[in-house]
């Protein structure tokens, strides 16, 4: 398992990766239904950083030695040894935000209203990486593990 890597020089800051990440993690996986009708709008797990003219997207790096896993008080974050993914089990998460404190990339996304966190799951269970396949300028690519 690898991760998604940004090419900042060709990122145009359109934030479609954020939009499609939300769609990927919605109930309907339909862009219209997601944003118009779904009660619980899914949070994008990718963040577009912007200080114009610079823009680039960043999401969980699926670290080899993840700080978030070490910090998780509930055993809700773990590194899946088979896939290499850093996995967040929402059922076990209590929303203590220790992962927010320790993630060096700021890639644990917070929903303060519901005291929930979200992170990139590399579109687990889906047949494509939505942020990669919908990036209009190919500024996001999937890099398999070396």
């Amino acid at each position: 398992m690898g991760r998604v890597v940004a090419k900042p020089e060709v990122c145009i800051g359109c934030r479609l990766c954020e939009i499609w990440c939300s769609v990927a993690h919605s109930r309907s996986r339909n862009i219209i239904k997601t944003f118009l009708y779904e009660e619980k709008k899914p949070f994008p797990r990718v963040t577009v950083e912007e200080k114009l003219p610079l823009t680039f997207a960043i999401q969980c790096r699926h670290c080899a030695e993840p700080d978030c896993v070490a910090a998780c008080i509930g055993g809700a974050l773990f590194k899946d040894p088979a896939s290499g993914r850093v996995v967040h089990d929402r059922e076990k998460c209590v929303g203590c935000y220790s992962c927010v404190l320790t993630c060096p990339y700021g890639s644990i996304v917070v929903d303060p209203k519901r005291r929930e966190v979200f992170k990139c799951d590399l579109c687990a269970g889906l047949d494509e990486l939505y942020c990669v396949s919908h990036c209009p300028n190919e500024a996001l690519v999937y890099v398999p593990e070396e």
């Binding site: 890597v5 940004a6 680039f56 070490a70 055993g75 209590v94 929303g95 927010v100 404190l101 700021g106």
Partner: protein, 429 residues
């Protein structure tokens, strides 16, 4: 005598970090865990969430039920009572001897009970173990008034939970403000305001003068002379390292069991981590107890690599907390510098008391972040911890630290791309 390649005393974050670290690099070495609590590995940090009803009992477990089996760990459910570092063996309470190739002491901490007569009564609890949680749960239905001794992280978490349970809660804090060792005056004031708005009585510069009642606490006379009713008393004034196994051996103790950056004690083949240890703090350069979950897990994992013969250092531990009280989120790390700074410290801070947001960064003379506090807006806090760990000179963008949308884009190009070297692809155009 049964001997193992690796023996771990303790069964919490440090033990899990060690087991998982060992199994990354040594699939076949024999591992035993000596656990004095007769329970599957659970998370003490979840005690408040359990009592709050946020999680069911089985979710207290920190790892799945088949954790030991999958890691091929022998679980010895007994108390370790004696350590012989010359013969390399641990004696258990039932007389069994357990030999070790490498030993990890991950014995944790013990809740501190101040020398106040009456703290042995039935409705007095610490806020530390699953037994505490179950005892509190049992006492709650008949309780109306709670007294919390200690206005630190643990005491305040207990106060919030008991308030939610419908009890009238009094917090007693000896210092003149809450969380004084952890955050500065401004952040303390936000926390105090949050509790007062919720209806929790905060009593600073106050403590227990006398406990009244036969086998149960009934009333408490405070230092300020008032006497208040009490149906449940929670003692949350901190933990002290459990070092008793190391006492009387050649292992050096300084408050905690002293370890070097490899998590190794002064005795050969003996390692320590977590709340029982005195470990390296990268911000101060000193070695002292850092009784925090991430440090325990990571310390155990680093110890494991060294125990298995791979040299690794743990140089990223420091004081750090993610806290939340009612609707107020707080994150801090590193030095807690109070007042307006001066001397060696430059303070970059902004507070909004209405919105209950606060950001404060403590910079040393070389522009390195040595501590920070975020209240209200805590998103992406880990970036600041990373800037601290990497000793980044932030003077070029110091005011931008106060922006709630701060990110790597705020850093100068060369600095940003150096930090994200392996995380982005450059040079495509």
């Amino acid at each position: 005598m049964r001997a193992y390649d690796y023996v771990i005393v303790g069964n919490s974050a440090g033990a899990a970090g060690c087991i998982e670290g060992l199994r990354c690099v040594d699939k076949s070495g024999s591992i035993a865990v000596i656990a004095e609590e007769n329970r599957h590995i659970y998370s003490r940090a979840l005690v408040p969430y359990y009592l709050d009803g946020k999680i069911a009992g089985e979710k207290m477990y920190y790892r799945p039920a088949d954790f030991y089996k999958r890691a091929a760990v022998d679980l010895l459910e007994d108390k370790a009572v004696k350590l012989d570092t010359a013969l390399k063996r641990v004696e258990l309470a039932d007389g069994r001897l357990v030999g070790y190739g490498k030993l990890l002491l991950a014995t944790g901490g013990r809740p501190i009970f101040p020398p106040i007569p009456g703290l042995d009564k039935k409705n007095v609890f610490s806020f530390h173990s699953l037994d505490d949680a179950l005892g509190i749960e049992e006492t709650l239905p008949a309780a109306k008034n709670a007294v919390i001794l200690g206005g630190g992280v643990i005491g305040l978490m207990a106060a919030e939970v008991l308030h939610r349970k419908g009890l009238q809660v009094h917090v007693l804090e000896l210092a003149d403000r809450l969380l004084a060792p952890v955050i500065d005056e401004t952040a303390s004031a936000l926390v105090e305001k949050t509790f007062q708005e919720a209806g929790v009585e905060i009593n600073t510069r106050n403590t227990i003068e006398k406990i009244h009642g036969a086998d149960r606490v009934e009333n408490i006379t405070l230092r300020d002379g008032r006497t208040i009713p009490c149906d449940i008393l929670i003692v949350g004034v901190g933990v002290t390292p459990r070092v008793e196994l190391a006492e009387g051996t050649d292992i050096k103790i300084n408050r905690g069991i002293v370890v070097n950056r490899n998590m190794q004690t002064s005795a050969p083949d003996v390692y320590a981590c977590g709340d029982c240890a005195s470990t390296y703090n990268f911000v101060t350069g000193e070695t002292h107890p850092l009784p925090l979950w991430p440090n325990a897990y990571r310390g155990g994992r680093i110890a494991a690599f060294n125990m298995a013969g791979l040299e690794r250092e743990y140089t990223w531990g420091t004081s750090m907390n993610a806290m939340h009280f009612f609707d107020l989120n707080l994150i801090n790390a590193g030095l807690n510098i109070t007042g307006s700074g001066g001397g060696d410290w430059e303070i970059i801070a902004a507070v909004d008391e209405q919105q209950k947001t606060y950001r404060k960064f403590v910079l040393n003379r070389d522009g390195r972040i040595k501590g920070f506090v975020l209240a209200g807006q805590i998103a992406r806090a880990g970036i600041f911890l990373n800037l601290m760990r990497r000793e980044i000179d932030v003077r070029g963008f110091r005011q931008e630290l106060l922006s709630t949308s701060f990110g790597y884009s705020n850093l100068p190009d060369d600095m940003r791309w150096q930090l994200l070297e392996n995380e982005v692809i450059l040079g495509v155009v």
